[in-house]
């Protein structure tokens, strides 16, 4: 049995390394994106083999689904910029070197191949060496499993992953949510977008499928969110699924995309982080320490935070896809 498992792992490993190598080495950007989507799939399988269904779920939702769509959209924009540069008509003023697009320009004209090869290789070797030595001297510790299990009763949920994510190490999840928010603020700082014109899809197939898929996606999202307390699932995965449903709607766009009201949109996007902070400060004031929950209140608070986090992650992913801050007040 485990001989076959080892074979399966080896093939999977070969696939991952092969796809990654081809993805990086391919000059054609589109092929790289497709390879990246496949890489996300294989990585999800790898997580499954590592007995981490939660991360496999997240990888499936974000890695294979949404990132593929985001990359494809970015590719489109990149292609039109390249086209405009090739057409050689600089109808925009010479960019301010420290302006927001400097990074984009730098991306377009990477250092010539031979000059970056040696530093990159040496850097990889050094980091690789450090990792190996670190792992080599790793004391044979039994890991945190027993510690977590010992405190499961206090955590308010009975799925160890969620207990760690939202109770014992709530601080990390809080920072992750903040990072997602900052990523969106970064995208918004690059520019504004006006009304996106309606583009009804020809033929009944796409609207019909969406009528089936979107409700199922919403129900699955809520299910994954609810299952998070006793089975693999949780806020991030649920947020990603709801975000995917949103992105599908943005893509199909039967009617003109309504201009999101700036106020409520910003509130929704920062809901996750804000609520987490409020619960944290309440814990601080109530004497349990920052982000500490009273034992009786642990479960309801965790559910509350998860719902808010799902809402903000879904909104953030759709906003990232639409890219460009709402045209509201521009202070």
């Amino acid at each position: 049995m485990n001989a076959l498992l080892v074979l399966f792992d080896l093939v999977l490993l070969a696939g991952i390394v092969g796809v990654a190598w081809r993805c990086l080495a391919s000059t054609d950007l589109f092929r790289a994106v497709v390879l990246f989507i496949t890489f996300g799939l294989l990585l999800a399988l790898a997580w499954v083999r590592l007995e981490a269904p939660d991360i496999a779920l997240a990888e499936a939702a974000i890695g294979a689904g949404i990132t593929g769509a985001l990359l494809l959209v970015t590719l489109e924009r990149l292609r039109s910029i390249m086209a405009e540069r090739r057409s050689g008509r600089p109808h925009s003023p010479p960019p301010d070197p420290t302006g927001p697009h400097a990074l984009l320009r730098a991306l377009h004209d990477p250092l010539p191949e031979h000059r970056t090869f040696l530093p990159a290789l040496s850097f990889a070797l050094v980091v690789g060496g450090l990792l190996v030595t670190a792992l080599w001297h790793q004391p044979q510790s039994v890991g945190l499993e027993p510690v977590v299990d010992a405190h499961m009763d206090v955590s308010g949920v009975d799925h160890p992953i969620t207990a760690v994510l939202l109770n014992f190490r709530a601080y990390d999840t809080f920072l992750e949510l903040a990072i997602v928010l900052i990523a969106l603020l970064g995208a918004w700082s690059l520019g504004r977008h006006d009304l996106i014109p309606a583009r009804p899809a020809p033929g009944p197939i796409l609207p019909g499928t969406l009528r089936l898929l979107v409700p199922v996606a919403v129900v699955t999202g809520v299910y994954v969110l609810w299952a998070g307390s006793h089975a693999p699932g949780g806020a991030f995965q649920a947020g990603a699924i709801l975000g995917a449903a949103g992105i599908l709607l943005v893509l199909a766009r039967p009617r003109q995309l309504p201009m999101a009201p700036a106020g409520p949109l910003r509130l929704g996007i920062s809901a996750g982080v804000a609520l987490f902070l409020l619960v944290g400060l309440y814990g601080l004031a109530a004497g349990h320490g920052f982000l500490g929950y009273a034992e009786a209140w642990a479960y309801p608070l965790i559910i509350l935070i998860e719902v808010a986090a799902t809402l903000s992650i879904a909104l953030t992913l759709v906003a990232l896809f639409v890219a460009g801050r709402p045209a509201g007040d521009d202070t």
Partner: protein, 108 residues
């Protein structure tokens, strides 16, 4: 029994790696996207087989999410291809030849 499921999963993994050839060689981007679509489906099947081989029922949820999201990339590819972006997003300038948003000749 789980031996058999594992063998089937391995076989499907082999088909994915084979399919990569189409991704690498495929002349048009459409072909590549199709291959990605096939990999999505095969991925779902592998997950289902593994859920039985490793007795982890959670994997069915993962497969469900996979099935849901497989379509996002494909739709994004077809709908986004050559779509002019909203006019004033600074990263993208309106291609000079298209007069502007009222250009509705694309019926994709």
């Amino acid at each position: 029994m789980s031996l058999f499921y594992l063998a089937a999963a391995l076989f499907l993994l082999g088909t994915i790696l084979l399919g990569l050839v189409r991704v690498l060689r495929g002349p048009g981007s459409g072909d590549r996207m199709l291959a990605a679509q096939l990999f999505g489906t095969t991925g779902v099947t592998i997950l289902l087989l593994l859920s039985l081989a490793l007795e982890a029922s959670a994997l069915v949820d993962v497969a469900l999410v996979f099935a849901l999201l497989a379509v996002v990339a494909a739709v994004a590819f077809v709908r986004q291809h050559g779509l002019p972006e909203p006019p004033d997003t600074p990263i993208h300038r309106q291609p000079p030849d298209t007069p502007g948003p009222e250009r509705h000749h694309d019926d994709r």
